[in-house]
C-alpha cells in the first residue's frame, strides 16, 4: 500500500466499466474488485466512486437493479449494458494505443 499511484484523470470510468464487466456488483463490490484487479496499486477515493457510477448510469452505460448482497442486505447492483460493453471495448483500445505510443516515445528518449 505504500506505493499507491494517483489515478490518471478519466481512468476511473474505465476501471469501473472493467470491474463491472466481470460480473454485476454493488458499489462497494466494485471498489473491492478494482483494488483486486489492480493489485491495490491505484488509490481510489471511496466517495468518488458514486458520482462516477451515477454518471455512467446516466449515460446509459450501466444498468442498475436492487437486490440482496452476500451479507443479506439490500444493495444496488450495477451491470454493463450493451452500450457499456461497446464503450469498454473502445476505451480499452484507445488506452492501449496511447499507452503503446507513450511507451515508444519514452523509450526513444532513453535511447
Amino acid at each position: 500500500m505504500a506505493h499507491q499511484a494517483d489515478l490518471l484523470p478519466g481512468t476511473l470510468d474505465l476501471l469501473i466499466l472493467k470491474a463491472v464487466s466481470l460480473g454485476a456488483q454493488h458499489g462497494y463490490g466494485v471498489l473491492l474488485r478494482i483494488e483486486q484487479i489492480t493489485g491495490g496499486a491505484l488509490a481510489i477515493e471511496q466517495g468518488a466512486l458514486y458520482p462516477a457510477l451515477y454518471r455512467l448510469e446516466h449515460q446509459g452505460l450501466l444498468d442498475t437493479k436492487w437486490g440482496t448482497s452476500d451479507n443479506n442486505r439490500k444493495a444496488k447492483f450495477y451491470s454493463l449494458t450493451a452500450a457499456g460493453r461497446r464503450r469498454l471495448k473502445a476505451e480499452t483500445e484507445r488506452w492501449n494505443r496511447s499507452a503503446l505510443a507513450m511507451n515508444t516515445a519514452l523509450r526513444a528518449q532513453e535511447g
Partner: protein, 902 residues
C-alpha cells in the same frame, strides 16, 4: 442513444426525486456498513469504532452526494429550482417593482406577439391543405408585360385538357358577394366558384356530406353547393339537416350536398368563403362566365407530379402554351393583340402559402408595424433594465455577502438572470392573452363592412415559439446589464456601501444615462415615423376630392357583373323603373337631391376608354385613356361638384339627341391645353359621331383617394354604351342619411320587387379606401406616444435616482454656498447632455429608417422638415420637463440632513 438515455435519466431525476435521494442514502449506508464490517474483521475493531473509521475514511457524505447529483445533471435543476423560489420571494418583497415590470412586459411582449401572429398568418403560414409544398399557381406571361394571374374559362378548359405536369389542377374565382335574399335588401354571403377538381386536388376532407367532384362540374350541371364549416355552424347551427336542404344564391336555388373541413378557408389568405358552387353553375348567374373569352375571372393552381423539378414543369408548360393559347383565343381581336396573346406562355410559381391580396397590400405595413412595436419593446426593456439596475444597487450588500460566502460570479449572474427571465416569462404569459385580443382587434380594423377580411389567427407553434423567444431575449436584456455590473464590483466597496459620495459611486448611475439616451434616440425615430404617417392620413382625410361626401347615401341597384343575367328586366325598362324610384325618393322629407350614375366616386367600378381629339400634340395610345362615368341630371349637384363652365345634363339629352359630354379640368387641360373647351369635340373608338363637350366640372377623385385625378368624361345616362347603365343611386339628404334606408327600401319594393338594393354612405365608401392609412396612422401614432411616455418615465427614473445618490454632494455644495440655481443647472446639464446625445443618434437613425416608409406616405416627403422639427421639439420639451422635477428636488436638499446621513 446516449442522449436519449441521458434525457430519460434526467427526467426520472426530476420526476422521482425523492426515490433517487433515498436510493443514494441507502447505497452509501450500505457501503459504509460493508466497509465497517471489513475493517472490524481485518483489524479486530469493535463495530462502533469500525463504523467511525469507515465514516472517517469516506469523508463528507454530503459532498459526494452533491457530486453524484451533479453527475445526474440534477445540480442545475436544483439550483434553478432554488433560484426561482428565491426570485418569487424577492418579487413578493418588491410588489411595486414587480407589478410595473410585469405590466410593461405583458403589454410590450403582447403587442409584439399580436403583430407577429398577423405576420405569421398572413405572410408565413402554409395553406391548411394536404402537402401544400407541391402546389403551384399558374400565371400568364405576355411578352413584355408583368405576369397576370387571371384566366378565362376557355383558357381554364384548355389547360385542364392539355396539361400533363400536374397530378391535379383546379380553377377558382375569388370569393364574391352572393345574395342570399330573394329580392329587396341584399344579404351578402361569400361565394366561391370552383372547378370540380378543387377539393380533391387540395385534399380537403368533408366535415359532413360530400364535397364537389369532377362529375358535379359539367356544363348544364345540377345546382349544388358545399358550405364552409363556419357558415354551416352559424347559418344551419351545424345540424345534419342542412344536407339536402336548398338555399337561394343570387335568386337561383342550390341544393346543399356537404360541408368542408373545419379549418379550410379557401386558398387565398385574407379571404374566406361561405358557400362553394361548381364553375358550371356560374352559367345560371351569367352565361358569359363560361362562354366569354374576354372575362378574366379565374385563378388556377396545380399540384406538381412527384419527382418533377420546377424547371421541368416550366419547360413543359412553355411547350404546351401555344396550343393552349390558340384553343382559347378570342376570334375577333386585332392582329397585334392576337399575336401577343398567342405568344403568351404559362408560368408556374410556388404557392404553398396561397396567393393573397392582403399579403400584397399589407405585407410591407405589417413589417413596418413589427419593427415599430419591437422598438417600443426595446424602450420598455430599457426602463425595466433601469429599474433592475437601481434595485441591484440596493442589493449590493446581499450580493457582496453571497460572494464572500463563495458564490461564483457566474452563479450570481445566473441567479439574477433567472429573476429577470422569470419576470419576462410571466409577462409573456399575460402578453399572450393580450396578443390574442390585440390581433383580433387589429384584424377588425382591417376589415370593413364591404370588404371582409378573414385570417386564421388560431394559436400555432410559431407564435408560441416567438413569444417564448421574445420572453427569453427580453429577460436576458433586462437582467444582463445589472447582473454583469454588480457582480464584478469590489467586495469591500460593496460591504461598506452607504450613501457615500465617493467618485466611484458618482460614475455609476451614468450607465443608466446611456440607456436613457438610447431610449430617447429610439423614441425620436418612432415619433418621426408616426408623425409622417399621421400627416399622410390627415392629408388624405382633408384632401379636396372635388365632391362633398357628407350626408350622401349610395344605393346600388345593380346585380354584380358575374350575375348580370339574374335581373330579367332589360336595361331600357330598368331605367324607367329607376326613374320612378328616383322621383319618389326625391319626394321623401329630408332628401335634397337624387341622381344615378354608372359608378360613384371611390366606388368599385371603373370604365376606361381611349379618346381622340383634333388638337395637335394631344395624347395618343395608352396616354389617351380617359375615365368615364354615365350620369343622370343632378349628379354634380348631388355631389356638390362645381360646374365651372357650360351646362349640366337635362331632359333634352336623350338616346336620340346629339351625343354630349361634360369633362373635368384635367381632361380639358391635357387634351386641349385650353381652359374653355365647351363646344369642342372628342371621339370614342366605339362610336363614329363625335361627342360635343357641353360643360366643364371641377376635378374630382374617381377610383381611389391616393390616385392622381385622371382625365374624366361624363356622358348622360341615356347615351351610355351597353353595360354602362347608371344603376347606382346617390341621395343627398339634409340629415345623416342612414335613417332613410327603410323608406327607400319600401319605395323600391313598391315599384319593382326585383331590384336588389345595397346601401352604404359615401363617407363609408371613402373610409374603406383609407383603411391601410388609418390603421398605420393610428398604430404608429400610438406607438410613438407610447415610446415618448416610456422614455420620459425612464429619464425621470434615472435622474431621480441620480439626484438621490448625489444628495450628499449637493448638500456639501450648498453648505459651501452654491445657489439652488447652480445646483439645478448642474443637474440639467446632465439632462441636456443625455437628450442631445439621444436626439443626435435618433436623427441619424431616422434618416435611414424613413426610407422604409416612402411607399406608405402621401403628400409628405420622408424627410419632412416640419415633422422632424416637431418631433424633436416634442421629445426635448417632454424630456426636459421630466428632468426638471428631479433637478428641482435636488435644490431642496437640507445640507445638514444630507451631511448627517453620511
Amino acid at each position: 442513444m446516449a442522449l436519449v438515455s441521458r434525457v430519460r435519466s434526467w427526467w426520472r431525476g426530476i420526476r422521482h426525486r425523492s426515490d433517487i435521494e433515498r436510493g443514494m442514502s441507502e447505497e452509501l449506508q450500505f457501503h459504509l456498513a460493508c466497509r465497517a464490517q471489513d475493517l472490524a474483521e481485518r483489524r479486530g475493531l469493535r463495530p462502533e469504532d469500525a463504523m467511525r473509521l469507515a465514516r472517517l475514511e469516506f469523508g463528507s457524505l454530503e459532498k459526494y452526494k452533491e457530486e453524484t447529483r451533479a453527475s445526474l445533471g440534477l445540480a442545475l435543476v436544483d439550483q434553478l429550482h432554488g433560484d426561482i423560489r428565491y426570485a418569487l420571494r424577492t418579487f413578493g418583497r418588491s410588489k411595486g417593482f414587480t407589478a410595473a415590470a410585469l405590466i410593461t412586459l405583458a403589454l410590450g411582449i403582447g403587442a409584439n406577439t399580436a403583430i407577429f401572429s398577423l405576420v405569421d398568418a398572413v405572410m408565413m403560414r402554409l395553406l391548411p391543405v394536404d402537402k401544400p409544398q407541391e402546389l403551384v399557381q399558374l400565371r400568364l406571361q405576355e411578352p413584355g408585360a408583368e405576369p397576370g394571374g387571371g384566366f378565362t374559362n376557355a383558357l381554364w378548359e384548355a389547360i385542364r385538357n392539355q396539361q400533363d405536369v400536374f397530378s391535379g389542377v383546379f380553377a377558382w374565382s375569388t370569393p364574391k358577394p352572393f345574395d342570399l335574399g330573394r329580392g329587396g335588401i341584399v344579404q351578402t354571403v361569400r361565394g366561391l366558384m370552383v372547378s370540380g377538381s378543387y377539393f380533391t386536388t387540395l385534399g380537403v376532407e368533408a366535415a359532413a356530406g360530400r364535397l364537389l367532384t369532377d362529375d358535379d362540374d359539367r356544363r348544364g350541371c345540377a345546382p349544388v353547393a358545399v358550405l364552409s364549416y363556419g357558415f354551416w355552424r352559424t347559418h344551419f347551427a351545424g345540424t345534419p339537416g342542412a344536407l339536402g336542404s336548398s338555399i337561394s344564391l343570387n335568386r337561383q336555388t342550390f341544393v346543399v350536398i356537404g360541408v368542408s373541413a373545419p379549418r379550410f378557408f379557401g386558398v387565398e389568405v385574407g379571404k374566406a368563403f361561405d358557400v362553394a358552387i361548381p364553375l358550371c353553375a356560374s352559367a345560371l348567374f351569367d352565361k358569359r362566365n363560361l362562354d366569354s373569352r374576354s372575362r378574366w375571372w379565374l385563378s388556377i393552381m396545380g399540384r406538381a407530379k412527384p419527382g418533377l423539378t420546377p424547371e421541368q414543369i416550366a419547360g413543359r408548360l412553355r411547350v404546351l402554351s401555344p396550343s393552349i393559347m390558340s384553343a382559347a383565343a378570342e376570334p375577333d381581336r386585332n392582329s397585334e393583340r392576337q399575336g401577343r396573346f398567342l405568344r403568351t406562355v404559362l408560368i408556374a410559381s410556388a404557392a404553398a402559402q396561397g396567393p393573397s391580396e392582403l399579403r400584397r397590400v399589407f405585407g410591407e405595413p405589417l413589417i413596418l408595424l413589427m419593427t415599430m412595436v419591437a422598438f417600443v419593446l426595446l424602450i420598455a426593456c430599457a426602463n425595466i433594465a433601469g429599474l433592475m439596475l437601481a434595485r441591484a444597487r440596493s442589493r449590493a450588500k446581499e450580493i457582496a455577502i453571497r460572494t464572500a460566502l463563495g458564490a461564483s460570479r457566474g452563479r450570481l449572474i445566473r441567479q439574477m438572470l433567472t429573476e429577470s427571465v422569470l419576470v419576462s416569462a410571466l409577462g409573456a404569459g399575460f402578453g399572450l392573452l393580450f396578443a390574442r385580443w390585440g390581433a383580433a382587434l387589429l384584424l377588425r380594423e382591417l376589415a370593413t363592412a364591404r370588404n371582409p377580411v378573414f385570417v386564421d389567427l388560431s394559436l400555432d407553434w410559431s407564435v408560441l415559439a416567438f413569444a417564448a423567444a421574445v420572453a427569453i431575449l427580453t429577460g436576458s436584456l433586462i437582467g444582463l446589464v445589472p447582473a454583469v455590473r454588480f457582480t464584478g464590483m469590489s467586495l469591500i466597496a460593496a460591504m461598506k456601501s452607504s450613501q457615500s459620495a465617493g467618485t466611484e459611486r458618482r460614475s455609476r448611475p451614468r450607465a443608466g444615462s446611456w440607456i436613457v439616451a438610447g431610449q430617447v434616440a429610439l423614441s425620436l425615430v418612432l415619433l418621426i415615423g408616426g408623425g409622417l404617417l399621421l400627416r399622410t392620413f390627415v392629408t388624405l382625410l382633408t384632401l379636396d376630392m372635388g365632391f362633398d361626401r357628407s350626408n350622401v347615401l349610395v344605393v346600388i341597384a345593380k346585380a354584380p357583373w358575374f350575375a348580370a343575367d339574374i335581373v330579367k328586366t332589360p336595361p331600357e325598362q330598368r331605367s324607367v323603373v329607376y326613374d320612378e324610384i328616383a322621383s319618389r325618393v326625391r319626394a321623401l322629407p329630408g332628401v335634397l337631391s337624387v341622381a344615378r350614375a354608372f359608378t360613384t366616386p371611390i366606388g368599385d367600378d371603373n370604365w376606361f376608354t381611349p379618346i381622340s381629339v383634333d388638337t395637335r400634340g394631344a395624347p395618343a395610345g395608352e396616354d389617351a385613356s380617359v375615365s368615364f362615368n354615365f350620369v343622370t341630371p343632378g349628379y354634380f349637384t348631388t355631389l356638390r361638384t362645381p360646374l365651372i363652365a357650360g351646362r349640366d345634363f337635362d331632359a333634352r339629352d336623350t338616346k336620340q339627341s346629339t351625343p354630349v359630354a361634360i369633362v373635368n379640368q384635367t381632361l380639358a387641360r391635357r387634351f386641349f391645353s385650353d381652359a374653355n373647351v365647351v363646344g369642342k369635340y372628342f371621339r370614342k373608338p366605339d362610336r363614329s359621331t363625335p361627342i360635343e363637350i357641353v360643360g366643364i366640372v371641377k376635378d374630382s377623385k374617381y377610383e381611389s383617394v391616393r390616385e392622381p385625378i385622371p382625365p374624366t368624361a361624363f356622358l348622360p345616362a341615356p347615351q351610355a354604351p351597353p353595360r354602362g347603365e347608371a344603376e347606382e343611386f346617390l341621395v343627398r339628404t339634409s340629415t345623416p342619411s342612414s335613417a332613410l334606408i327603410p323608406a327607400i327600401q319600401a319605395i323600391a319594393t313598391q315599384v319593382s320587387a326585383e331590384v336588389p338594393l345595397e346601401f352604404h354612405t359615401l363617407a363609408e365608401q371613402i373610409d374603406d379606401d383609407l383603411v391601410q392609412e388609418r390603421l398605420l396612422a393610428t398604430l404608429a401614432g400610438f406607438f410613438g406616444a407610447l415610446a415618448l411616455l416610456l422614455a420620459t418615465i425612464g429619464l425621470y427614473g434615472v435622474l431621480s435616482y441620480l439626484v438621490t445618490h448625489r444628495q450628499v454632494e449637493f448638500g456639501i455644495r450648498m453648505a459651501l454656498g452654491a445657489t439652488p440655481g447652480s445646483i439645478r443647472r448642474l443637474v440639467m446639464r446632465d439632462v441636456i447632455v443625455v437628450v442631445t446625445a439621444g436626439v443626435g443618434a435618433g436623427l441619424a437613425a431616422a434618416s435611414v429608417a424613413v426610407a422604409l416608409l416612402r411607399s406608405m406616405l402621401f403628400g409628405v416627403e420622408p424627410r419632412d422638415a416640419a415633422t422632424i422639427v416637431a418631433a424633436v421639439c416634442l421629445l426635448s420639451a417632454t424630456a426636459l420637463a421630466a428632468g426638471y422635477l428631479p433637478a428641482r428636488r435636488a435644490t431642496r436638499v437640507d445640507p445638514m440632513l444630507a451631511l448627517r446621513s453620511e
